[in-house]
Symmetry: C2
């Protein structure tokens, strides 16, 4: 029997799919589980303050920024910390303490995955 014919057309994944996420939104309806996971990432960017924080880190020189660099987003410092934590929990940022300061940087694979879910729509 030729078991060759029904090969699942899932080739070795693209290098940046370190994230077990989802196909482009146009490919097929998401399952409840996929939607749950993915929505968490989009929700993380669904707040103006968090979006500014993320953009600030993403555009900062060296790809990272310490919390001390961000004090002008219009909210108190505990609130900044709270939002950074949310972004971390969503997998969009990572943090590292170096001496006195804590540095945040973006997690490219996760962001790329989000982009791919949207990008193929155009």
């Amino acid at each position: 029997m030729s078991n060759i014919e029904a090969l699942p057309l899932l080739e070795p994944e693209a290098p940046e799919s370190a994230v077990p996420c989802c196909p482009p939104l146009t490919e097929r309806p998401l399952t409840a589980d996929e939607a749950e996971k993915t929505a968490r990432m989009f929700k993380a960017l669904g707040d103006p303050v968090r979006l500014r924080l993320f953009s600030l880190v993403a555009s900062h020189e060296g790809g990272e920024a310490c919390v001390c660099d961000i004090s002008d987003v219009g909210v108190s410092q505990p609130t900044v910390s709270h939002h950074l934590k949310k972004l971390k929990e969503a997998g969009l940022l990572t943090s590292e303490r170096r001496g006195t300061w804590v540095y945040y940087r973006v997690e490219p694979s996760v962001v790329a995955a989000m982009g791919q879910m949207l990008g193929t729509l155009g």
Copy 2:
């Protein structure tokens, strides 16, 4: 000093302004205004039910789906209607009534804009 300068910035603009909003998130920190606009779009996809609805419309044949096609997302019909409205207000979907049914389709420009803000990160 003219008192004209302080125009109330609340124009009666269309709720779905399909404008390419902002530069890639890596280019420079977003302004408060840009973040406000953009966050509205991401927030729209930040709910599992909405994400499923959106994916359902986006992946449906012909690029559009009527509400009758979507009855298995696990919430009541009024809730579906509510979420579709949210997606419309965010500019991600448009709707059109044809006879008995209402058809929804994705707004490609807005989705593409979101993808561009993320896509250049990889």
